[in-house]
Symmetry: C2
Subunit: 449 residues, 2 copies
């Protein structure tokens, strides 16, 4: 009954606590900034040119561009764009980026449908979808991720189906089938990290989740026990293990604990496990400046990090911006040199700049199994001594969350190169108020060019 | 290098032995009959009506109908149609239905491209894709299937990408990326068996494989070791086990042993594991007729089968045609009663017909672990004695393959209710010669209405 219970809960969700609502608004806002910021990235433009011959009736906006596509391709491309800079949100307990798949499907569907949609209904559907993704992720974590699945895609497709299905007001049975149709599309291998296909995962999750809801609305059947059955989603994606045994406790917490509240926002456009090290590097940069020491002249940088940092982001010689996102060496070097690790510091020319590669080569990495995942220690050695920085919780963590003002600076930082002034500020304002609108459709128009 | 090796082999394939060619022609012919025969099935029409709002430029035929769709949706819908009657081909060593995903993608792409395409090139691409699917299936069999994956979808998406990529004449690197983009879409849980979503799997595999090739042609990157990497496809889909260790020997046999030659065709539109029992029932029917015994008056039917038959097809009380495909009881009952188990015997009214349900209830099933998978023993008890039939190899097996004439009767049997006479015979002739055509495009037109 767990699939049915999830469907029932999602359809029944009519009010959310104010703190959950606020978290959803911030998640949606951050998503829009990421999707616009990524909209002109080569990964997105390659996908657009590859698939434009297949586009249908252009109902749905490609955020940040003047273009539209059919709802499925809009969901795909906005989903790719939202993740391509690795700058989107993170549900820390599962490393899921939960908003991209769900919001990309919801916005594309809203415009396909074309009838007025209250902001509050959009937020409720977003929360339902995000909670579904994150609770399912918790049920199969960590085996699922350890095996090699990109958990954002594998759970995102189900969240997208739940969200769109709620907007469609499917029956409980229909939504159960939609969950099954979505669950049978298990999208995303971690092996693709560092390539265009990583951000394809949330895009394809959005597109396939949307399709699942459309199919279910037409009476297309799947299984009513798709998540919990012996050979259902949870057991299969946990490697044939006992994934389903964790489904019950996690799904029972739906509406009692809210995963959306535990969603964090990245201050840096790279793998979140790098963030404590970058935070330390930026703090070190500031101290170096105060002391009049030139960061490029550092002799050695010794970095102690959680073992996962080494497992996920130890690309010593990244060749371009995409690979640099998986290089704690790069993040550390630009943090030390420039006191920033924003999108500009992950542009290809910066990654191969001699001053960056030289400092990168001087960074030594050590795994500390006693560290928390968001802990790091940096010691920078210069001619006349050492500077040490210890980060207990990185900026952007739940303990040190980004403020609304920081989120807005990040948004503008992403959107400005795409939309310029003064459109960026207008779009930021529109993105903030989406959840309060009587009708989101005219606001969605403003998010395009 | 195994991903690269597969890409290299597929692109390099320029000639095939005559027996392989013949097997490919039969596979394609059987596929077309299945796709036309399934084209008006509710599963297909529901999917069509759910998704038609998203259709793009209608370049590609929906086989057996007057309609067209964009290439991706045509691949999806033809793939669904080809599998919906569970009447398609089977690579017996892996239970993969290999033609559906690959051929659906190839035909849709050929019409999207719109330039003349020689039948020989179509066959070569089909063989490359089918070999890719089946060799990969062999590498991860049986763990992959045991965990709960629908191996037709999970391997079919990669075969479709290989086939379309070969038609596109991608470079080796591009095709490696296409394989990776396809591999990251792991489509199909066995939990969906008995619902519309089962046949969605080969359809979505075709559509996603086509998309993967289109993306790769535009320079979209994935991994160059997507199949063999530590967290690549083979290990992940074998449940985090050592799937990749089998990749090397199976992929090394590419071009030495041909899986297409081991592709079998179903005489009955249901799960292949039922076939020996149905074969026995039909032979029993004939003997009952000769002896003047009314099959509906049988007192008991005792059936000994391989344990997999019970695991997969023991639905004792199927409620409709779809469920009846997973009921060896139903197949046995109609075989005994009518001497046939064709599409007509899997129509909903037959499944609930009192004479069928009564005889079904009298069938007793016993697992025989000593039996081969295509072995069955039937004892039918009537008022004055028993009739026994022992099947060593079922009709449609590699040992007792369907003849071209039997394949043609099956084709006509499927196509006639959709196209009527005399179109059915014309279409059958067109389907036979597709592989010899100087240009397949005008022939593809004939396969529609």
């Amino acid at each position: 009954m767990m699939t049915r219970n999830l469907a029932h809960w999602a359809l029944d969700l009519k009010t959310i606590p104010p703190a959950v609502r606020k978290a959803a608004v911030r998640s949606l806002y951050n998503y829009i900034g990421c999707a616009i910021g990524g909209s002109n990235h080569p990964t997105v433009t390659k996908a657009h040119s590859a698939l434009s011959r297949l586009f249908g009736n252009p109902t749905s906006s490609l955020l940040g561009t003047a273009g539209k596509a059919d709802a499925r391709h809009a969901a795909l491309l906005n989903g790719i764009a939202s993740h391509v800079h690795d700058y989107d949100d993170t549900h820390l307990a599962t490393i899921i980026h939960p908003t991209g798949p769900v919001a990309s499907a919801l916005l594309a569907y809203a415009e396909l449908q074309g009838t007025p949609l209250q902001g509050e209904d959009l937020l409720l559907a977003l929360v339902a979808g995000m909670e579904a993704s994150c609770k399912l992720g918790l049920a199969v974590w960590p085996e699922h991720y350890d095996i090699g699945w990109h958990i954002t895609g594998t759970t995102g497709v189900i969240g997208a189906a739940v969200g769109v299905g709620k907007l469609m007001r499917l029956t409980e049975l229909e939504l159960s089938h939609a969950i099954g149709i979505a669950a049978t599309n298990v999208i995303g291998l971690r092996e693709m990290f560092g390539s265009d296909t990583k951000s394809f995962h949330p895009g394809q999750a959005a597109a396939s989740g949307l399709m699942a809801a459309l199919l279910a609305r037409s009476g297309f059947t799947s299984s009513e026990q798709s998540l919990e059955a012996k050979r259902g989603w949870a057991n299969v994606v946990a490697g044939g293990g006992a994934g389903a045994s964790n489904l019950n406790p996690t799904l029972e917490s739906l509406g009692r604990t809210w995963e959306v509240e535990l969603n964090a926002f990245k201050p840096f456009p790279c793998g979140i496990v790098c963030h404590p090290a970058i935070d330390a590097a930026i703090q070190c940069h500031e101290e170096l400046l105060q002391e009049g020491i030139e960061p490029s002249e550092l002799q050695e940088v010794s970095l102690q990090v959680h073992p996962l940092v080494i497992e996920l982001t130890s690309k010593k010689y990244p060749r371009d911006g995409l690979e640099a996102k998986f290089s704690v060496y790069h993040g550390c070097a630009v943090g030390l040199l420039y006191g920033k690790a924003g999108p500009a510091q992950y542009e290809n020319p910066v990654v191969t700049r001699p001053e960056v590669t030289k400092l990168r080569d001087r960074v030594k990495l050590t795994a500390k199994t006693s560290f928390n995942a968001d802990e790091a220690h940096l010691r920078a050695t210069h001619q006349s001594g050492d500077i040490e920085k210890h980060i207990v919780h990185a900026v952007g963590s739940l303990e040190v969350p980004m403020t609304d003002e920081q989120l807005e600076r990040k948004f503008i930082d992403q959107v400005l190169p795409v939309l310029g002034e003064p459109r960026s500020m207008e779009v930021s304002n529109a993105a903030w108020i989406l959840g309060e609108a009587d009708d989101v459709l005219p606001i969605l128009k403003q998010l395009s060019q």
